[in-house]
């Protein structure tokens, strides 16, 4: 690797970090204007997220769904499609896992656990696959359909949690908290650290990150997904069925988000309840962008944003600075990261190389046109 390429790669990795630093500086100004002590707030945030075992395990627990969603976002982006439907896919994944786990509670755990996870993943696959198919076959903008699918999923959840999935014990007791019955304890994901929420889903997520890396860069399917993402026109001339791979990218993306929902149910809440998706569908996009849309980059990125979310909650309790600061900071990080892409694109136009960290795929416009023509 020559020096110039090395420097370029180094800058690629440093740009998101720089974006984070700039976002944090804007955050300092904001807090200052609002009359709070920014340094007190930030130190409470860092202490809360990383200061003790409880904080660290909470951070990793939050990082788990972020990583799973982030991996899904990576696949979609690499395939040249945008998946805004993470929230909805998480919800249907969690609903399906709950319905299966509660409904077939008598099965032996060894069979029930994988099947519960699979039903969550399958629901996500369908929820992402529908927009994928509509885009591939009819040229419907996937951003809009995934947004609509989010709304449909939320309504479905409201309906199911107040009707068919409502905990019978709650009905009997006359309380009406919209949540499902608990899943059998035998299939709860094991705690990695006793007396914390940190569960085995984290290991699953990291293994899947390796699997997604392998899929995207070591298999024909992955090569084709990336080829379609980078240049759908050329891919079609090369004989790749573009429509099929567009559908596949969105379906796989939805599958990982659906799995995130199932893992949240099995690992953290042990039942389905409102607000389970917790904005992970959007925060996962932020983590994926921060990790340069690389599955392995998504690992540290999701840990970082997990820390931000946990730290912000702790900060709110410790120094009364609203945790919403974390959401605003995420927004700024996205704005800065996508803006800094201009620099990366200008450079990759001069030197195009596919080393797994090349410029962003030709999302928007590009695929849509090619798909519409196909």
């Amino acid at each position: 690797m020559n020096t110039r390429l090395f420097l370029a790669k180094l800058i690629d990795i440093l740009l998101p970090v720089l974006a984070m630093v700039v976002a944090l500086v804007v955050g300092v100004l904001l807090l200052f204007l609002l009359g709070t002590d920014p340094f007190e707030a930030y130190s409470a945030l860092i202490r809360g997220a990383l200061g003790n075992v409880s904080g660290i395990t909470q951070t990793l627990t939050k990082a788990t769904p972020l990583l799973l969603v982030g991996l899904g976002i990576c696949i979609a982006f690499r395939g040249g499609v945008i998946n805004i439907g993470g929230e909805g896919q998480i919800v249907v994944g969690a609903l399906a896992a709950t319905a299966f786990g509660v409904g077939f509670g008598n099965m032996p755990a060894l069979i029930l656990l994988p099947l519960t996870l699979i039903s969550g993943a399958a629901a996500g696959l369908i929820w992402g696959g529908i927009p994928g198919l509509l885009k591939a076959r009819l040229g419907v903008n996937e951003i809009l359909t995934t947004v609509m699918m989010n709304q449909i999923a939320l309504r479905l959840m409201n309906f199911l949690l107040r009707g068919p999935l409502l905990d019978p014990e709650h009905v009997a007791a006359g309380t009406s908290i919209p949540q499902s019955a608990a899943l059998p304890e035998s299939i709860w994901l094991p705690r990695l650290v006793p007396r914390t929420l940190f569960h085995g889903g984290a290991i699953l997520a990291v293994l899947l990150a390796l699997a997604v890396y392998f899929l995207l860069w070591r298999t024909t399917i992955g090569y084709r997904i990336r080829a379609v993402g980078l240049n759908p026109h050329a891919s079609r001339y090369a004989g790749i069925p573009v429509a099929k791979y567009v559908t596949l990218s969105l379906a796989l993306s939805g599958m990982l988000c659906g799995l995130a929902g199932a893992v949240e149910v099995l690992g953290v809440h042990h039942r389905m309840l409102e607000g389970l998706s917790g904005g992970y569908g959007f925060s996962g996009i932020v983590a994926a962008l921060f990790g340069k849309l690389h599955p392995l980059g998504a690992i540290p990125a999701s840990a970082l944003f997990g820390a931000l979310l946990v730290g912000a909650d702790k900060m709110q309790r410790a120094v009364q600075v609203p945790s919403a600061l974390a959401i605003a900071l995420q927004g700024l990080v996205v704005l800065f990261v996508v803006s800094s892409d201009l620099y990366v694109r200008r450079r990759t136009r001069r030197r195009v190389g596919d080393d797994g960290s090349a410029g962003p795929p030709a999302t928007e416009g590009g695929t849509r046109d090619a798909v519409a023509e196909a």
Binding site: L34, R155, I327, V338, D341
Partner: protein, 309 residues
């Protein structure tokens, strides 16, 4: 069943339908400007929340309601400028930068709300303004001519937007830039200038959409009070085939369903209303699926423009 279907409930539902279309109209008409010039702004929801908060805050602090609207417009223009800088000047992926803008608006409006106000408070927002004579028409008068000023303004924006887009020089430039930026540039139209303008118009209208919620319809501010309405507004532009009349139709469809839902809840009818509420979303997907190939969308939509070197 007699009680459910009286004329007065029907009038009530239609009155709510007309009224509840207000935020959809402002936001999706604003988005139409941006998209006709080739920029997809997915951050409408974030801008709405910022507009809703600032309008509410101004009124909460004792200012005039119109000052509230004005403050919202200023904030909306600033959010539009931010979006324009990121997606026009920095040529970033438009869908994703919209998500960034959404999260920024969502987070910042919540942060400001909790710091500056703290708890859920009400204000007295725009009052109903019955139009003399017209509001006396039986039935129709109440449905159409007995609303607050922001509602009338929203409907007024439909012909105004149509006129600006289709009958003015600015509109011609907007359409040219959205259809073929290279050609427009060759003819001396500033592509970036036009796109900055449309995004500022869109931002202002999105913010007024938010204000119409916080000081017009609900008269309260809550975190994330738009509940994704801004995203629907973006879809309505596609739904309406980038035409103002189509946008009006889509807005009325969604507000009609909202009005029906309110009615169902109020009368405590045992209908799984959640299922009924899914219908407009499913319908939107179906309509998009049937029209995606036929309709003439702005050719350069969601494509950044960079001058050749």
């Amino acid at each position: 069943m007699d009680e459910l279907f009286t004329i007065s409930t029907l009038i009530g539902i239609l009155h709510s339908c007309v009224r509840l279309a207000t935020p959809y109209l402002f936001a999706s008409l604003g988005e139409t400007f941006g998209q006709r010039s080739g920029v997809l702004n997915l951050g409408v929801d974030g801008i709405m929340l910022m507009g809703a908060f600032f309008a509410f805050y101004a009124v909460f602090e004792g200012h005039n309601l119109w000052v509230g609207v004005l403050v919202a417009i200023v904030v909306g223009i600033m959010m539009g400028l931010l979006k324009a800088f990121v997606s026009v000047t920095m040529q970033s992926l438009q869908g994703i930068s919209g998500i960034g803008l959404y999260l920024f608006g969502l987070g910042l409006s919540s942060l400001l709300f909790k710091t500056l106000i703290g708890s859920v408070e009400g204000v007295s927002g725009f009052r109903q303004l019955a139009i003399p004579l017209l509001s006396d028409i039986p039935g129709l008068g109440h449905i159409l001519f007995n609303h607050n000023a922001l509602v009338y303004l929203a409907y007024l924006m439909v012909p105004v937007s149509w006129f600006v887009i289709n009958r003015t020089t600015l509109g011609l430039k907007i359409r040219a830039v959205g259809h073929n930026p290279e050609a427009a540039d060759t003819l001396g139209v500033s592509v970036n200038g036009v796109r900055y303008t449309t995004l500022m118009i869109g931002g202002a209208l999105a913010a007024v959409a938010g204000a119409s919620l916080s000081i017009g319809l609900q008269n309260v501010f809550q975190e994330n009070m738009t509940n994704g309405l801004g995203f629907i507004a973006v879809a309505l532009v596609y739904f309406g085939s980038w035409r103002t009349v189509g946008v009006l139709g889509g807005s009325l469809l969604f507000s009609l369903v909202n009005a029906l839902q309110l009615w169902v809840q109020a009368l405590d009818i045992p209908v799984p209303s959640e299922v009924a509420v899914m219908m407009p979303y499913i319908m939107t997907i179906v309509v998009l699926a049937f029209t995606a190939r036929q309709i003439q969308k702005p050719a350069a939509l969601a494509r950044s423009y960079e001058r050749g070197e």
